[in-house]
Structures are given as C-alpha cells and as structure tokens.
Amino acid sequence: MTLWPITLVTFKEGIRNRALYGITLFALLLFGATALVATMIPREVGKVSVDMALSTISFTGLLVVLFVGINLMAKDLDKRTIYTVLSRPISRSQYIVGKFFGMVLIIIATMGILSLLAMAVLVLMKMTFAADFFSRFSWQLIILADCLVVLMLILLSAVSFLFSSFTSSSFITLVLTIITYIIGESLSGVKALVESPAQAVGFTVSPLTRRMVEAAYYIFPNLSLFDIKVQAAHALTVSSSFVIWTVIYGLIYIVLSITLAALIFTKKEFP
C-alpha cells in the first residue's frame, strides 16, 4: 500500500493548518446564531434550526475545501517539496490519489466534528422549545442530508484537484473551484429558467444560450442534487432511488475527476 503514507502525511498537514481554527470559530458563531434566529421565528422553530445547522455544516465545509484543500495541493508545488516527494519510488498518479484520500479524510474528520456540534445544537433546541414546534422532525433525514453534503464537498475537492493538476498557481485553482461551485449549485435552476416558456419568465432565450446551458449541465457537476436541506427540514419523503442515483453520480464524477487529474499530472512538466 504505497498510497497510505501520502494520505497520512496529507491528513496530518491539513489538520495542522491554522485556517481550521478560524473556520471552527466561524462555525461556532453560526451555531450560536442558530439559537438566536430560531427564537425570532414564531412557529417553525424546528425547521429554521435544521436549516441553520445544515447550512452551517455545508458552508463551513466549503471553506475547508477552498482554503485548506487547495492549499494542500499547492504547497508542494509552490515550495518545490514536490521534487523530493517525486524522487521517491511512487508514481505521480499514486501521489495524486494519495493526496486526494488525505483530503477526503480531512473532510470526513472536520465534517464529523461539525455534525456532532450541529446535532448538539439541535438537541439543545429541542430541549428548550416545546415538542409541538418540532412536529415534523426526522433525525434520519438530517443525517442523510448531512452525508450528501459531505459527498458534495468531496466531489468539489476532487474537481479542485483536477484544476490544480493543470494550473500553475493555487489562486487560479481557487477561483476556478469557486466558479464551479456557483455554477454547480445554480445550474439546474438556470436550466429550468431557460427551458421554461418565454411568457412565464418574461424574456426570450436564444437557442444558442439554451444549447450552451445544456452542454454546461453535462460538463459541470450538478451540486444541487446533493442539497436536500429543505426536505430534511420538513421531514419530507426522499425516495431511495434518488439517493442511490445521486450517490452513484457523485462517485462517478469523483473517480473521473481524479483519474483525469492523475493523467494530466503525469504529463505535467515542472519548472
């Protein structure tokens, strides 16, 4: 198992990143805000608490991917430590895959801790407010939504690995990843918008735009698939086929991104 040492080193390096302190502080503030906002809601306290908790996990995870994840890849290139790593008996693709597994471990570890905190906040809210305010509340769905958020973050991280395999600076990778995140989250909304009849939205869309959106829909990851926060907040039914296909879609996208990243990285010439 040649991947394991790289995975472990990556994980340790990521966990030691100072940015995590700031991100944790930010998450704690948001969890504090949950209690504050929920008390301002007259009726659906449970729904708003779940909204806040899940959104905090998701947004904080995004910060981890963007500011810890991308740094991990870039540091080796920026500080030229990549030469010492690559002089060892491992291939470049092994290096990429090992690094990626390390990042997956970081995401799972940080999101695990955050999820526990979020659950604690929700338990606290349930204890403070009458059970009537939590009439539609489902731990299973909240945990499922949480797991899908983690899968989405891993996917985004895989895409950032793909970007860092061909860009020369971590800043470009950061920008590309943010753009991908925004496109990925809004793409299905944009697609619905351009496909809806003109009189419903108030403007006409040229066929070219429609085709471009269609193309983008298949190229960019559809991150909105992984967002079932509203369903979790209202304890609505989520079909198992939806979950299964979404997980398959996510895993395939991750495998494709990392494979492509490894291929590009193998061909890359270092300065």
């Binding site: 009726r43 659906e44 708003v48 909204d51 989250e185 918008l193 939205v201 967002d227 509203v230």
Partner: protein
Amino acid sequence: MRRLLIVAALILAVCLHAMALGKAADAMKLLPKDESQAFVLPSPLLKIAALEFHGIASDILFLKSTVFIGSAVGRKEKAGIKEWEWNWYAKILDASTDLDPYFLDPYLYANAFLPWEPGKVEEANRLLEKGSRYRDWDWRMPFFVGFNDFFFLHKDAEAAPFFMEASRRPGGDPMLASIAARIAFKENRTETAIFFLEETVRMTDDQSLKELYETRIQALQSIALLERGVGLYKKKFGRFPSTVDDLVRRNIINQIPVDPYGGTYSVALDGKVRSTTSSELEPHISPLMRSLH
C-alpha cells in the same frame, strides 16, 4: 506626555465614532422611502442566487417581513401602512415561500394580515393555495382559503370545497364539513364567520396574532348581538329601530356592546348595523364591515 496625547485622541475618536454612527443611522431613517425600494427579486433569480441555501434565504426574507410588520402595525401616523408597502409585503412573503414552499410561518402571516387591512384577498389566497399544494398534510391551508372566499369575497360556492378538503386532512375539525353545507345555504353569515375565527384562534400559537384575531371576533360578536336585537325589534314592532339605543330602551338588549375598535354603532335604513370605525378612521374594521353587508 506624548502617550497621554495619543490616549486622549483615541478616546475622542471612539466618542466621535459612536456619535457619527448614531447621526448617520438617524439620518438614514429620514431618507425618502418609496416604491423604488420595495423591490423583490423575481423568484427564479432568487432561487439561483440562493445557491444551496434556499432554506436560510427563505427564513431571512420571512424575518425581513416580520420586522416590517412589527414596526408598521404600531405606526402612529395617520396614513398608516401605504399601498406599496403592502404590495411589497405580499411580494416578499411570496418570494419566501417560493424558496421554501413548505415554510409555515409566511403563510400564517399572509393570512393574518393581507386579506384584512389592505384587502388583498386574492394575493393571500394565491399564497395559501400554494401552501395547500405543498403542505398537503396541513388542514389550515385550505381552511384559510375557504374562509377568505366565504368571508371577504362572498364566493360561497367556491369556499365549500376548500372546507371539505380541510375537514378531510389530519387534525381538521369534522364540523367543517357540515359548515361547508351550511354556508351553501347562506345561513347565519356572522355566526359562521365567528365560528371560523374561533377555529383560527384555536390553532394560532403566536400571542400577537391571537390577540389580533380575538379583537376581530369581539367586533363580530358585538355586531352579531346587535343584528339579533334588530331582528327581534323588527318582529315586535314591525319596523327597524332608528338607533341602537332603541334596543336598550325597549329592553331587547341589556346594553350596547363595546366596539373593540372604539366606534359607536348605528342602524341603517335596511336594518344593517354599522360602526363608525368602519370608515377610514380604523382600517381594521372596514373590510370586516364590507364583508358583512
């Protein structure tokens, strides 16, 4: 000495900072506010801009609307809440429920305000029908639509199916089904309206909304009492009383009920009872009176 000077300057700066913040905030309140600021992004765009945070965006829009209603209802100015402000209120609640169509609170607030003071019954019902579609387990949504159809719009035939739907959903009062039949025969409008409002109070947890509805019930009950008295008077003397005081003088009722909105009652030529507060003085009662007569 120099250190002292720096400290003094810092203290001065902090004081100036607090003063500037206060002055600027006060001045900002005085800036003209008009319709151009009552803009709510169209829902398809909001959905895209909210990325994966639809739930929270919906909560924030709802909180914005409650801040408005909280400050506006207590407003002392004579003009009260302006038309465009109500339009904005309807729009922001609509946007909030487009982002999260299962969110209960915006529907409850839409129903508590829109059909009453501003008379925006259609807007309220459009929202509530959306709520009824999504919250298909919630009997309140069709109940509200039915009530608004019956009470404000006098569309009894259209209201009945909504009451039937409400009686079928879990938690819905089975009585609603027979009420639906009763309104089809146009019996006892005022009493039926009181029953509906009492049903609304029963399901309302929010204290301020509860009080709002209870005042409306009280106003309706006073009118129902006087109308019964006028009916008895007509039976006894063959004509309508000219004032409500006639009812007391002839021992038909013990005393004139108090109008919770502070008006006095008069009897119209056709025997209908009106309150002076049904004019522009008090916006609460006018739609109520409009709908009764």
